[in-house]
């Protein structure tokens, strides 16, 4: 441990701690900076994180210094402030100050630091700047404005050090230096939008988000990416029930500060035109919208009848939903006729970074709950025979295996509880619209076995039901179980199911999620 003084406070930090991090912690806010990034190498080029260390003749950049015993550091002295102001002025002299048309406005390092340290009278006229290329498309997701760039090299370091793909570099020198794409390349990798996140100014912007929304109008909700089993921690940026972008949220145990481009586009499915918004009933071979009361009575009548059935869900549902699903259908049908989903559904190629081969967010929960997956052929076999009722909750098995289309067509009745009018929905007799991940609270268990929570960001569209309440209502209507009536109650039920502390999924749930010890778990009913 090093004992030192920062801004008059006696503090202790482990040896090797960067002075930048130590100062930021003591101050309660980071030192001014553009180039420093905790997950990238030190560049030391923006020169903004200057601090005064007593005994040193010159100011020192905190990012390239480690804490030492007896250091006396000032981050806010007049000397430091004056120097930061001068450097900031240097950063701004060739900057176009086109904030009114810049997507970064509102979350821009230049703006923030000008308000904190600059506040000098600008005497720079627009005509005097060094001009560079603007709005250059450099890849499928990213657009480059060379004039706004402060040459912090975060993007080039990210592509050198994290993806290793090295698409961008700095060309030319002096104030003609600019970011550019390597000859014959484009910025086209599955992590390209991280460069937009780490760009401290509006030089790199997202083509998807460009000109869509002023960032200060957005509200952020912490969430988990539903795109694969990695479970990257994200935030959902939304306004008026519309999602505009997904951004990574730091969790060093899972995704660090990064996420992949595929994951970032997951929100588009929430607002997809094929979203199911009202219940549909097949009448005269056409799916017709019906009122909710009618849908409820159809549903309870079908499920309440004495009929042999099969239930199939998917690894896209939440842990809570899967617990209720198993409870409900294990009761209505025989336990051995309740399935987790189609085996192999959502399995694709992984990469060597964040994207998992399992493109479903919650397969681990299926395993934990003993909800086995079934091969399409086995399912067909199970469904052959008279008077079959099939309940499909989530997923899209028909798209996964088109043979199932005819199998399902031969069944008496197919009930689909889903979100989109997909191939599976088209085989259904009754469709109940349910909510997507961004419209509800829930738990996903990632491939590490880490339970992570996500929250409702936007409202459910139309007549869409909140899944767990629908399942709880069915439990109350059709079974003898005492259904949960609130989310905390539901979480306690799940905790009990997993054999972990009752509060561990409510008040004790850490923001980074946790990997539970399931050794105390007593396997409960319905397992095969």
């Amino acid at each position: 441990m090093a004992k030192l003084t920062i801004d008059g406070k006696q503090v202790e930090f482990p040896d090797g701690t960067r002075l930048f991090d130590a100062c930021s912690e003591v101050r309660g806010e980071p030192l001014p900076h553009f180039c420093y990034h905790p997950d990238l190498s030190i560049a030391g080029v923006c020169r903004l994180c200057q601090v005064e260390i007593e005994g040193m003749p010159k100011l020192t950049i905190a990012c390239n210094t480690t804490v030492r015993d007896d250091m006396v550091v000032h981050t806010n002295s007049d000397k430091v402030k004056k120097s930061v102001q001068k450097i900031l002025e240097m950063h701004l002299i060739n900057h176009p100050v086109d904030c009114p048309i810049c997507d970064q406005a509102g979350e821009c390092g230049l703006q923030d630091q000008y308000m904190e340290y600059g506040l000098y009278e600008s005497e720079v006229s627009i005509a005097d700047k060094v001009n560079k290329a603007k709005a250059e498309v450099i890849g499928p997701h990213v657009i480059l404005d060379k004039e706004r760039c402060v040459l912090c090299t975060r993007c080039t370091r990210f592509l050198d050090e994290i993806t290793g793909s090295r698409e961008l570099g700095i060309f030319n020198r002096g104030d003609r230096a600019e970011i550019g794409v390597a000859p014959g390349k484009e910025l086209n990798n599955n992590y390209s939008l991280n460069t937009v996140d780490i760009c401290p100014v509006g030089a790199l912007t997202s083509r998807d988000f460009r000109f869509q929304k002023r960032v200060w109008l957005l509200r952020s909700t912490p969430s988990i990416c539903p795109g694969c089993a990695t479970g990257c921690n994200i935030r959902v940026d939304h306004e008026a029930d519309r999602i505009y972008r997904l951004k990574p949220r730091r969790n060093n145990e899972v995704n660090g500060p990064w996420m992949c481009d595929l994951g970032r586009m997951e929100y588009k499915l929430v607002h997809d035109e094929k979203r199911l918004k009202v219940p549909l009933l097949r009448q005269n071979s056409e799916l017709e919208p019906i009122l909710w009361q009618q849908a409820w009575s159809e549903l309870t009548t079908l499920l309440g009848g004495e009929v042999a059935g099969v239930a199939l869900t998917s690894a896209g549902q939440t842990l809570e939903e899967l617990v209720l699903y198993r409870l409900l259908f294990g009761d209505i049908f025989a336990a051995d006729r309740v399935w987790g989903g189609l085996s192999g559904f959502g399995l694709k190629e992984s990469d060597d970074f964040l994207l998992a081969s399992d493109r479903m967010p919650n397969r681990t929960s299926l395993t934990w709950l003993g909800l086995r997956e079934i091969k399409p052929d086995d399912l067909s076999q199970k469904l052959s025979g008279p008077a079959q009722l099939v309940v499909i909750y989530g997923g899209d098995p028909v798209t996964a295996d088109s043979k199932l289309e005819s199998t399902l067509a031969d069944c008496d009745c197919v009930i689909y509880l889903g979100t989109h009018l997909n191939a599976t929905a088209c085989t259904a007799n009754l469709i109940i619209p349910v909510s997507m991940w961004a419209e509800k609270d829930g738990l996903f268990v990632n491939k590490q076995g880490r339970i992570q929570t996500f929250h409702r960001a936007v409202s459910r569209p139309g007549e869409t039901r909140e899944d767990w309440r629908l399942l709880a209502d069915l439990l109350a209507e059709l079974t003898a179980h005492q259904p949960p009536t609130s989310l905390p109650q539901l979480r306690r039920l799940v905790a009990e199911e997993l054999g972990i502390k009752p509060t561990s999924l409510v008040s004790d749930l850490p923001v980074t999620g946790f990997i539970p010890d399931l050794s105390a778990r007593i396997p409960t009913g319905g397992d095969h």
Partner: protein
């Protein structure tokens, strides 16, 4: 003992055959190498160079032996670079060394490599010195053929490979980490320190970078001994120094003189004073990056590290620029400011933006578009660049700018016209993109 006692480095300067191995060998060439490899340990070589007080001749004046001592003792691989990226305006001494006497530098480099236990040596030659690359390469080939390079040199068991590397023509590649980066195939720009190259340099291994003149001084120290070297110069500035002198003096050129001689003597006895009709106005002593001295200041200083520092300037590289009364100091600083604006690598913001800003303000002044406040603005911009960057290039621009402004302010002031319109205007001069 060498007959020409004042000439350690320049005995073969100006001769047509000095670059040949046969000539070099006939004049005690490679004797020092033989002595080092057969009679001295690497540590003894380092100690000798340390005791001789040899200081880096590239500009910083850091003691060479001390720098060598920074290489970790347990290093498994060490690299050595001879820095011949001589690009400082006014400096052309290393060019003479390599052109007229390449073997002396090569011998010095081999001894230096032996001292720091390096088995691979690069001679990094400035891109504009194309012909020099061929000359040095031929000398290296000769040295290989004679067994001074390669495997088991002179039967000592010491191996050394030497590569002549041509730079691509960037001033900043003379900065040692910029030089290393460019040889590694990266953009030629300095790296942040620490770590210093002596600990982690080329390919992450300990690396020593020494200037040509520094390396060329080593054979004499080893061959003739520390005392022989120390008979020249002063206590703290030992040995001789090459001065490359340009400007309207009677005899410009490269001179080797002991450190510590008065500038006045050097000026009159060696340079022959100014050409007819010119008077001395100012002297840039150590290359374009050091603060300028007025004629009267210059006449009072001795040419050694300490005396020049005391006079508020630096010995630097020894690139001496003599400025006559007829010269326009603002024009001269514009040329220099253009140089630093052009050569800034663009990495650190204060240098990238500041060098361009200074250049544009000076240009505006010379166009008669300046105002009185511009003179203060020049000072302010300099303050915003000083000591805030990875390498000293920003400071190299600031030092001449500030000293010119301080010592020749009336010449700047004279460019400001009474009629210059007063009103809203930009601190940042009009957008002139041409370089």
């Amino acid at each position: 003992m060498n007959q020409n006692v004042d000439h350690i480095l320049s005995t073969r300067f100006g001769r047509k055959d000095g670059h040949l191995l046969s000539v070099y060998e006939s004049e005690e060439g490679y004797q020092a190498l033989r002595k080092a490899l057969t009679q001295m340990s690497p540590l003894q070589v380092t100690e000798a160079v340390k005791e001789a007080g040899l200081r880096g001749r590239g500009g910083a004046g850091f003691p060479a032996g001390v720098k060598w001592g920074f290489v970790p003792q347990d290093a498994d691989q060490v690299y050595f670079f001879v820095n011949a990226d001589e690009s400082e305006p006014g400096t052309f001494k290393d060019r003479y060394c390599l052109d007229y006497d390449p073997h002396m530098t090569i011998e010095g480099a081999i001894i230096s490599c032996y001292a720091v236990n390096a088995n691979l040596c690069f001679i990094y030659i400035r891109g504009e010195f194309g012909w020099l690359v061929d000359r040095v390469q031929r000398a290296v080939d000769e040295a290989y053929a004679a067994g001074y390079l390669g495997h088991n040199i002179l039967g000592s068991g010491f191996d050394l490979e030497m590569i002549v590397h041509k730079g691509a023509g960037a001033y900043i590649c003379g900065e040692e980490t910029g030089l290393i980066n460019s040889v590694e195939g990266r953009k030629g720009q300095p790296s942040i320190k620490p770590p210093f190259p002596a600990v982690s340099g080329f390919l992450g291994k300990p690396t020593i970078v020494n200037n040509v003149e520094t390396v060329a001084s080593v054979p004499y120290i080893i061959r003739e001994g520390v005392d022989a070297y120390r008979q020249y110069g002063t206590e703290k500035s030992a040995g001789t120094k090459l001065w490359s002198v340009s400007g309207p003096v009677k005899k410009p050129g490269v001179y080797e003189v002991p450190l510590g001689i008065p500038f006045r003597d050097f000026f009159y006895e060696y340079l022959g004073g100014m050409v007819e009709g010119e008077e001395l106005k100012a002297v840039i002593v150590g290359g374009s990056s050091v603060p300028v001295l007025t004629a009267s200041e210059a006449m009072g200083v001795n040419l050694d590290y300490e005396a020049l520092a005391q006079a508020g300037t630096m010995l630097g590289s020894g690139g001496m620029i003599i400025v006559p009364q007829s010269a326009d100091m603002v024009e001269l600083i514009q040329v220099l400011m253009h140089f630093y604006f052009d050569e800034s690598c663009g990495q650190c913001t204060p240098c990238r933006e500041g060098t361009g800003w200074l250049y544009k303000i000076v240009k505006r002044l010379r166009k008669g578009q300046g105002v009185q406040e511009d003179l203060d603005l020049l000072d302010q911009v300099c303050d915003g660049m000083s000591g805030l960057t990875i390498c000293p290039l920003a400071y190299a621009a600031v030092m001449p700018m500030k000293s010119f402004l301080e010592k020749f302010r009336p010449e700047f002031g004279a460019l400001i016209k009474e009629t210059t319109p007063v009103g809203p205007r930009s601190r940042w001069p009009m957008g002139e993109q041409e370089i």
